[in-house]
């Protein structure tokens, strides 16, 4: 990617970073749509021999040979049995029955996580710079499990099975499916054993935001990654016939509109169907659209598809406006005609101008790349939100990372819009989603793993979470673009990833397999359900009281029952105690606790208030006491617990929710 390494501070030279040969010992496995091996992002010059422990290989297919792999791309396999029993044999005129990526998504995520350094990367001149993956010296192994018809669970499990046997250290999965209890969630089940085998598993949180409780992949042994923006944008000016000047974003780089004003229409007014406002296929009347700029609402169909609909109807430009779902979030697309995406406020102003003017006109200027955009990061509107829909007592998402307008490697099979009608071929593309933020964290985890090979996946996850930041340098809280106001831990979890800090977190919450098993006991799972989830025999001790609050997680979620609605959680005017354990991964030090809270309804205290560590890997426990009072159902509030030795801050968000 370009810009995100600098944005994340990876450009800084610090002794904390692992040397490239230890980076070369780390293997990132990507389950996705495959890979385009010819890209320079998979160049292996400068990489030493493949780690001797590696057991994976290069699965040959019609258009994928053994030489497609190298010391960078050290493994490539495809899994299609589940897909083919459902859809019939793969039509190789339509898609490659091989690890080759016909879509682009898999190449994008793989190169984001661990692509080699490629100078002068750009998309049609936008986002120029030196592209590199987060862990640019790590190795990549690709497992193709997603096909034109979808990503089938039986193929995904087979790929996870292979990745563990092959010896990956990180498993990156930018996919999501239905929500269910862990014992019937195939990805959660596979991820448990992967994590138990020392593999860090990161998954995308989902793009169903800003709706609350819209998360995917919420198992506590998975790192669930939401999306934030970068300090980069692609502004394009929009001038209306009344001389109003507005700004949108675009990645269009073709022939620009002339400098003269062009007639402007709203899709909803030039259509013979209800789909006109959304510029759905076939909804626009060519006679009313020809040679005009059309305003289309976002939603209902792919954004790039709307551009095709306008172009096919004879339109010469498009202004794509957000509706209230996405507010002011601007996602840029490489449209096939002059276009600009605008926020809801601008969209409403343009529609008002159209409805109040006899012959409305407009013109769209060329796009540019703008850096140092502030405030950034902001939580992307589409990023799925908490509370955790499966286990409200576990705060999710865990963390956010860059996921909006991310440039990374692309397939040679389709153009940047992915549309069949797009003849362009690019090496890099700019796309958005939690699919993009997940491999960022996968790559960052690979860096931490290279620096601390002995750390467990839980310790790596803890390091990324307790060092994440929740405020800008100004002290202002990270914003949520969906509301325009400060975001909350239900939006960003522990905050935005800060890899440099994660390399030296001071203390970690190092959940063990027994902690995870105790978590399942706290959920009152039967031995059979525990066995289904973990493929281990484990019987919860009847003498032991297992609670979700005592599960050794790096963040806190405290579900409270209002007096009327008492159900599973603690009743709301009560005393609740959570005990957690910290492991020292730094030098001997004494840490003091600080508590910050947004609410008076919960009084908090911590025992002991200081933790003195004399040796590395020494463990110390503490107990947080919450004295809560009743609040109306649906109330949420947040607090923060920090341990600091003056050099490290080990921060945990606390989310209270009254139901």
């Amino acid at each position: 990617t370009t810009r995100t390494p600098e944005f994340l501070g990876l450009g800084k030279s610090t002794t904390l970073f692992p040397a490239s040969d230890s980076m070369g010992e780390v293997i990132v496995g990507i389950l996705d749509t495959g890979v385009w091996p010819e890209l320079k992002s998979f160049d292996d010059s400068g990489l030493g021999p493949v780690p001797s422990r590696w057991k994976g290989d290069c699965q040959v297919g019609k258009n994928f040979s053994a030489s497609s792999c190298n010391r960078k791309l050290i493994g490539a396999k495809f899994f299609s049995k589940g897909y083919e029993v459902a859809f019939g044999p793969i039509d190789e005129t339509m898609e490659s029955r091989s690890p080759r990526d016909d879509d682009g998504h898999g190449t994008h995520t793989a190169t984001t996580a661990a692509g080699s350094v490629v100078p002068s990367a750009n998309l049609l001149g936008y986002a120029s710079g030196t592209a590199r993956g987060m862990a640019s010296h790590a190795r990549v192994a690709v497992y193709k499990v997603c096909w034109l018809g979808g990503c089938f669970g039986s193929d995904i499990v087979a790929a996870m099975d292979a990745a563990v046997a092959d010896g990956v250290d990180v498993l990156s999965m930018s996919i999501g499916g239905g929500l269910s209890e862990y014992y019937s969630d195939t990805v959660a089940i596979g991820a448990f054993t992967a994590a138990a085998n020392g593999i860090f598993v990161s998954c995308s949180a989902g793009n169903s935001g800003p709706i609350p409780s819209s998360l995917s992949n919420v198992a506590p042994w998975i790192t669930t990654v939401g999306a934030g923006t970068l300090d980069r944008d692609f502004p394009a000016s929009i001038t209306l016939g009344n001389n109003e000047l507005h700004s949108g974003v675009t990645l269009y780089n073709g022939k620009q509109l002339s400098d003269s004003m062009v007639p402007l229409v709203y899709g909803g007014n030039v259509s013979n169907s209800s789909g006109g406002a959304l510029c759905m296929a076939g909804s626009l009347i060519p006679e009313k659209v020809a040679r005009k700029i059309v305003v289309c609402d976002r939603g209902g169909s792919a954004r790039v598809q709307k551009g095709v609909v306008v172009k096919d109807a004879g339109g010469i430009g498009m202004i794509l406006t957000n509706t209230d779902t996405f507010g002011e979030e601007l996602v840029a697309d490489a449209h096939l005609l002059p276009s600009a995406a605008v926020g809801q406020k601008t969209g409403d102003a343009i529609k008002k101008y159209i409805s109040s003017t006899r012959n409305p006109t407009a013109k769209i200027g060329p796009g540019t790349t703008k850096l140092e955009v502030q405030p950034s990061p902001v939580v992307a509107a589409f990023s799925s939100r908490g509370p955790n829909p499966v286990t409200p007592a576990i705060l999710k998402p865990d963390i956010i990372a860059p996921g909006v307008n991310i440039l990374a490697g692309w397939t040679g099979a389709v153009g940047p819009t992915g549309l069949q009608s797009d003849p362009r071929h690019v090496n890099f593309n700019i796309i958005s989603g939690t699919s993009m933020s997940c491999p960022h964290v996968s790559g960052l985890a690979a860096i931490v793993k290279a620096a601390h090979p002995e750390w467990s996946p839980a310790a790596i996850k803890s390091a990324l979470m307790t060092t994440a930041y929740t405020a800008y340098k100004t002290g202002q809280k990270i914003e949520d673009v969906a509301t325009g106001g400060p975001a909350t831990p239900f939006d960003y979890g522990a905050g935005h990833a800060d890899p440099v800090a994660a390399l030296d977190p001071g203390l970690v919450y190092d959940a063990t397999i027994d902690d995870y098993l105790g978590f399942l006991c706290a959920l009152n799972y039967t031995p059979n359900q525990i066995k289904s989830t973990t493929h281990r025999d484990f019987t919860c001790q009847t003498s032991k009281k297992y609670t979700l609050g005592d599960f050794n997680y790096p963040s806190f979620s405290v579900p409270l029952e209002t007096a009327s609605g008492r159900r599973g959680g603690a009743d709301s005017s009560s005393i609740i105690k959570y005990t957690r354990t910290l492991t020292n991964v730094g030098a001997p030090a004494t840490y003091k606790v600080s508590l910050y809270s947004q609410t008076q309804a919960v009084k908090m205290s911590v025992e002991p208030e200081t933790l003195s560590f004399k040796a590395q890997y020494e463990k110390k426990s503490y107990t947080v006491t919450f004295k809560t009072s009743s609040m109306p159902s649906g109330t949420t509030s947040f607090a923060r617990l920090e341990w600091s030795d003056g050099k490290h801050i080990v921060g945990s968000p606390i989310a209270f929710s009254w139901t």
Binding site: V85, G150, C151, G177, T186
Partner: protein, 85 residues
């Protein structure tokens, strides 16, 4: 209703490896035999050894329910289709 009952779909069968019935010496034979006892046409799609113990196969709803009753079978989960985020 009849059609739905007859329609086959892919299931992921989680087995309790440590409880393989004594009559079998090999998991593959156990899997094949357990399948044959509920369906004369089903076959193993994938065998899983590492992150999951078990296999995937195509069954009707009825066959899946019958298989789930067998000793050593932990769960028979209908396959979920995931999407890219």
């Amino acid at each position: 209703e009849e059609k739905i009952q007859k329609a086959k779909r892919t299931y992921i069968v989680h087995v309790d490896k440590s409880n393989m019935p004594e009559t079998f010496t090999d998991h593959a034979l156990w899997y094949d035999s357990s399948l044959k006892s509920v369906s004369d046409s089903a076959s193993v799609l994938y065998r899983y050894e590492n992150v999951v113990h078990g296999y995937s196969t195509m069954l009707t709803t009825e066959e899946a329910e019958a298989l789930g009753e067998q000793p050593g079978i932990l769960s028979v989960l209908p396959e979920v289709i995931y999407e890219l985020h």
